[in-house]
């Protein structure tokens, strides 16, 4: 882990009150409150982390919260390209919205749009927050929430013959 990254981690902890966990040489985990997420993203971009690889939403129904994970890495700097940063934040069921990272990283466009339709998390400031994959007339809860159950058919189903 280079000096640049070590300094950055100290800065993140002191300035933005992030919980930073270094998992290995190539993986860093940052947990941040959603009100600071834009500032942290801007800071990371100024270091050279220039694109978002994926936007993931994870549902935790017992705690009534949704976690959003941005995986951020670099193309322009080959040393930073070895590192993937997981930038995490949480939103509650009552207010599932957080500021969009689109103004900072344009590559978050697709991921945020998909996370919106699959989990119902609103990204404030995203220019085109519409459905991406699902039908226009899809009804019911958001499909990637745990409350959405898939109807499963076992191999040995005793179904009465249709009359």
């Amino acid at each position: 882990m280079s000096e640049v990254i070590k300094n950055a981690i100290n800065e993140l902890q002191s300035k933005f009150k992030c919980q930073v966990r270094v998992e290995s040489e190539r993986r860093i985990n940052i947990v941040v409150d959603k009100s600071f997420i834009i500032d942290v993203a801007k800071y990371l971009k100024s270091l050279g982390f220039d694109h978002v690889k994926s936007v993931t939403g994870i549902d935790y129904p017992e705690q009534e919260r949704l976690e959003v994970v941005y995986h951020i890495s670099s193309y322009s700097n080959l040393d930073l390209a070895k590192i993937i940063i997981a930038l995490r934040t949480s939103v509650s069921y009552k207010d599932p919205s957080l500021p969009s990272l689109y103004p900072v990283f344009e590559s978050a466009w697709t991921g945020e749009r998909e996370t919106y339709e699959m989990l119902g998390i609103r990204f404030e400031g995203h220019p085109d927050l519409r459905r991406l994959f699902l039908d226009e007339d899809f009804e019911g809860v958001y499909p990637l929430r745990k409350s959405f159950k898939i109807k499963l058919e076992g191999i040995f189903v005793d179904k009465p013959a249709t009359k």
């Binding site: 690889k53 995986h71 193309y75 322009s76 080959l78 699959m118 991406l132 699902l134 990637l144 959405f148």
Partner: protein, 410 residues
């Protein structure tokens, strides 16, 4: 379509030519697809001004199979055939990326021979995938010969994969801790023969396709993506490297046996359709170099981690491993419980970087599986590249990006 009245300049021009036909510039919208040779399984909603594209709206999702949701209902092993479906012609890479993530959670080591075999299968698959992409690009430009050549050449590599894995397209070859089958002398000979043929063929490819003036006219300076834009939009794979960014997961974060192999990454500066095609053509050559090295240097040894190998009952070991050199795992393998935790893995698939993010809660099923395929990340690139292009160039941009709709939809 709405027509606009002519302005003064246009009226003057018409009067000067002495033409009597009224020339009306047209603005409007056009639907391309969902089933169309130039759109795949996707509707492209094009806003036109004359024949200049002002904006496109990509309506993806016609082949959405909900892999991420289904993964919450399947055991880890049962997911292998599911995750490799999205890119049916690049299934080894889809399989490999997922297994690397699962192995990280399980903490399994992989023997060296298996690592080489993974690289071998992946490179054969990369060649097949690139030939498919070039063939599709050719047919989009109306170049039927290129299409038939691409698919004909691809057949040879698919046959090698078939001999190695037992399946033509959805191979399910990589399993946690190793691979399913071993390499034989026949497959080695087959591959060496195929390399000789393909080398000769690549020269012909250049002559008939890339040096062809009409193809060049359709590809050169079309859909130009600058280096800054490629980084900003998050392009991947050959599209990124054609714009001058040196980034390849095989070099940045070597997996399988890539840190022991010698190969180069072709990078172009132009960032247009032709550069994207040429990057893929040169990657085929590099893949063949890797294959030759693997055939020469592959170490002897087991192809499955000892931890799992010891669990196979002796009768089964005798029947399959000692006669056909094939791994058949016991049934209870299917419902293993990895410890709590999460893992992210990335591999360089045929079309670019493929990211898997797996969260495990200690049950036999993943809590959340996130799959970011290369074509998924090309959606935004495609949308941005079309802006300002001519309508006739829509298909050449599409083809040169090597976009594969089922892979984007997952």
């Amino acid at each position: 379509m709405t027509s606009q009245p002519l302005n003064e300049t246009q009226k003057e021009l018409l009067a000067a030519t002495g033409m009597t036909v009224e020339f009306i510039p047209v603005q409007g919208e056009l639907n391309v697809g969902p089933q169309h040779p130039g759109s795949g399984h996707m509707r492209i909603y094009v806003k036109l001004n004359g024949d200049i594209i002002e904006d496109v709206d990509l309506d993806v999702g016609y082949v959405h199979r909900a892999v991420e949701k289904l993964s919450e209902n399947r055991n880890y092993m049962h997911l292998i055939p599911l995750v490799e479906r999205p890119a049916i012609l690049d299934s080894i890479h889809m399989n490999l990326g997922y297994i690397i993530a699962v192995e990280k959670i399980l903490g399994v080591d992989v023997p060296e021979r298996a690592q080489y075999l993974r690289s071998f299968a992946a490179e054969v698959n990369r060649i097949a995938s690139h030939l498919y992409g070039l063939g599709i690009l050719a047919i989009f430009l109306g170049h039927s010969t290129g299409f038939m050549w691409g698919f004909g050449d691809r057949e040879i590599w698919v046959t090698i994969l078939e001999a190695l894995t037992g399946a033509r397209v959805t191979n399910s070859y990589v399993i946690p801790g190793g691979v399913r089958r071993d390499l034989t002398q026949e497959i080695k000979d087959m591959t060496l023969k195929a390399i000789v043929y393909q080398r000769k063929r690549l020269e012909d490819w250049k002559k008939i396709f890339f040096y062809n003036p009409s193809v060049r006219a359709r590809l050169e300076n079309v859909g130009v993506m600058s280096k800054e834009n490629a980084i900003k939009w998050g392009a991947v794979g050959p599209n990124l490297r054609a714009s001058g960014v040196y980034y390849d997961v095989r070099k940045v974060e070597p997996y399988a046996a890539y840190d022991k192999l010698d190969f180069e990454i072709p990078v172009y500066k132009e960032g247009d359709g032709l550069a994207r095609g040429l990057v893929r053509l040169e990657e085929i050559e590099q893949s063949m170099r890797i294959l030759e090295q693997i055939i020469k240097n592959i170490p002897e040894g087991n192809i499955l981690s000892d931890r799992f190998f010891k669990q196979i009952p002796p009768t089964r070991l005798k029947k399959y491993w000692e006669t056909y050199r094939r791994i058949v795992l016991p049934g209870y393998y299917a419902s293993f419980r990895p410890p709590k935790g999460e893992a992210i893995s990335r591999v360089e698939a045929g079309r670019g970087e493929l990211v898997y993010y797996v969260v495990s809660d200690g049950s036999p099923k993943p809590y959340r599986l996130r799959m970011i395929t290369p074509s998924y990340r090309a959606i935004y690139v495609f949308k941005q590249l079309c802006k300002g292009a001519r309508y006739a160039d829509l298909v050449s941009i599409y083809g040169s990006l090597d976009y594969f709709p089922p892979e984007a939809d997952r």
